[in-house]
């Protein structure tokens, strides 16, 4: 669908969708925790703007509620919780080393192309004015997954997870004008509970390993240590 055939509000939806995609890339490249949290908040804000615009254009008033939920949870509450946690865990000035930033960003661009190709059949079926943005919403989701796979600290992984949730919400808004309100309320509640649980998880992680690096979790140190013991015991067994 040609952009010029759309009205100015639909064009604005597409512009803000592109900006949401850009914030995903910004998160991918962002190494500092505090700025990562702020970028996440920006993504939530842009997403709320997209939702409000879609609500205006498509005349679906329940989307205003979704936008308000997004604004309250993903722009204010969760970033604030994460920021407070990062201050309390004394990691708000920490920067994480990303092995190969340029390659990572190119990988992100490849994911956008991939999601374009999977979205093409959906786009052909859909008759909505926002159908071109479906590919972008899938890309935001995949980029959130890429953030989770490339980061080591739990905080960045949680933000990647939340960003994936943003992508899902985005996909629901632009492909079907939002999920039923009860589902959205449930998801919002889940996200809020998840963010609190993640806070508990952070503290446990720090207590056990003295850092938030989840690669410590890969090593089952207790099993490895006790392995020779078991072998020693095994000799005595018949």
């Amino acid at each position: 669908m040609e952009l010029t055939s759309l009205g100015i509000y639909n064009q604005a939806i597409i512009l803000f969708a592109a900006l949401v995609l850009f914030t995903s890339f910004a998160m991918l490249a962002q190494t500092r925790i505090v700025q990562l949290i702020f970028t996440f908040a920006w993504q939530g804000l842009l997403l709320a703007v997209v939702t409000i615009l879609v609500a205006m254009v498509s005349d679906h008033p329940h989307l205003y509620v979704s936008a308000a939920l997004t604004l309250a949870l993903k722009v204010v509450l969760i970033p604030w919780l994460l920021y407070r946690l990062s201050v309390r865990l004394n990691m708000n000035y920490e920067a994480e080393a990303i092995a190969n930033p340029s390659l990572l960003l190119l990988g992100g661009a490849a994911l956008v192309m991939f999601s374009y190709f999977i979205a093409v059949p959906v786009v052909h079926l859909s008759g909505l004015a926002t159908r071109n943005t479906i590919a972008v919403s899938i890309a935001v989701e995949l980029l959130g997954m890429l953030i989770m796979t490339t980061r080591k600290t739990a905080m960045a992984q949680v933000i990647g997870f939340m960003s994936m949730e943003n992508g899902l919400f985005f996909a629901a808004v632009v492909s079907t004008y939002g999920m039923p309100l009860i589902v959205e309320l449930g998801v919002a509640f889940d996200v809020m509970v998840a963010s609190i649980l993640f806070g508990v998880f952070f503290f446990h992680l720090r207590d056990s390993f003295d850092s938030l690096d989840v690669s410590h979790l890969n090593r089952l140190s207790e099993t490895n240590d006790s392995l020779p013991l078991q072998e020693a015991n095994g000799e005595e067994r018949p």
Binding site: M1, E2, L3, Q11, F25, S102, L105, V112, V123
Partner: protein, 319 residues
């Protein structure tokens, strides 16, 4: 006089204005920067005085300088002049617009840069070789980003001709294109890197280990130096006008009447002055970055241009 004659005359006048006004922009930028940093500012036409002083001075040539070293300032200035002729400053649809499209424009800059680097190597000083290697590193990273911007714009406008693309943007009116937004930022970052401004290079320093462009022209003096500096001022103006033409072309003249031309001059002057304010603010709030971070900066510019290309395909044309 027939209309073709008028068009050619206008083209010549426009190119002359381009070359003559370039030091004025440099002076304006310098003056703004001084004001913003609480320093005593030189007058706006100080660059003209500097150029006049350099043109009067005698030249000192190194004993082992070859013809390449002597020819380079003229090649650089000539290539920049040709590039300036192809960029519509106050009026579109001039016959000179057919000389070069945007890709050839990138080529002109590459030609000028190639000869500057060769001349820097020609003398055999350490600074020259270092500057040449750095400049080529930056160029190799900036050029793909610039070309992707050009491709994105030409996909939307259906042409690589700068004049026709400007006309297209004018006729389309207000269309919110995410690809243009990304391209604008990518082009701005490339322009900063290519015209040697902060944070990639500092145009105000000499004899520092961090310099890029100045290291290459360290051995030049007199007339040669005047030509090279003038060329780099024209290059800054070309990039400014390029951004203005492609993204904010409103006000540029479309027919050869006196009123339209006057409006075109006023519009481009105002927009160039505003862009200079943006550039100076950018240069004041940022510090020069380490050389090894420049690839990251340009990698980001490349990503922006790539995003522009992708959004132009995914969001603006659709499946």
């Amino acid at each position: 006089m027939n209309s073709l004659g008028i068009a050619w005359m206008l083209a010549a006048v426009q190119t002359l204005i381009f070359v003559a006004a370039a030091p004025l922009l440099a002076g304006w930028v310098k003056r703004l920067k001084c004001h913003m940093q609480n320093r005593a500012a030189p007058v706006v036409w100080q660059p003209y005085r500097d150029l006049a002083k350099l043109l009067q001075k005698d030249m000192v040539l190194a004993a082992n300088a070859s013809w390449l070293f002597r020819a380079t300032p003229y090649i650089v200035f000539g290539a920049t002049l040709l590039a300036a002729a192809a960029v519509p400053l106050i009026v579109v649809h001039l016959p000179t617009a057919a000389i070069a499209d945007m890709i050839v424009l990138v080529g002109f800059f590459a030609l000028a840069r190639f000869f500057t680097a060769l001349a820097a190597l020609d003398i055999g000083t350490a600074f020259g070789g270092m500057g040449a290697s750095r400049e080529m590193t930056v160029a190799a990273l900036a050029e793909p980003a610039m070309l992707l911007v050009v491709f994105t714009l030409s996909m939307t406008a259906g042409t690589t001709n700068l004049s026709a693309a400007t006309e297209f943007v004018l006729q389309a009116g207000l269309v919110l294109r995410p690809s243009f937004l990304f391209s604008l930022f990518a082009l701005a970052m490339v322009a900063v890197a290519e015209s040697g401004r902060i944070p990639v290079d500092n145009p105000a320093t000499h004899l520092e280990l961090t310099m890029l462009h100045e290291a290459m022209i360290l051995e030049y003096g007199g007339r040669h130096l005047a030509l090279i500096e003038w060329a780099s001022q024209v290059k800054l103006l070309i990039y400014t006008v390029l951004i203005v033409d492609l993204f904010f072309p409103w006000g540029i003249a479309r027919e050869f009447t006196a009123g339209a031309l006057a409006l075109g001059i006023v519009a481009v002057t105002a927009k160039a002055m505003l862009l200079a304010v943006v550039l100076v603010t950018w240069e004041t709030v940022l510090a020069k970055m380490r050389l090894f971070r420049v690839p990251q900066f340009l990698g980001f510019a490349f990503l922006l241009s790539l995003l522009g290309m992708l959004t132009s395909i995914v969001l603006e044309t659709g499946g």
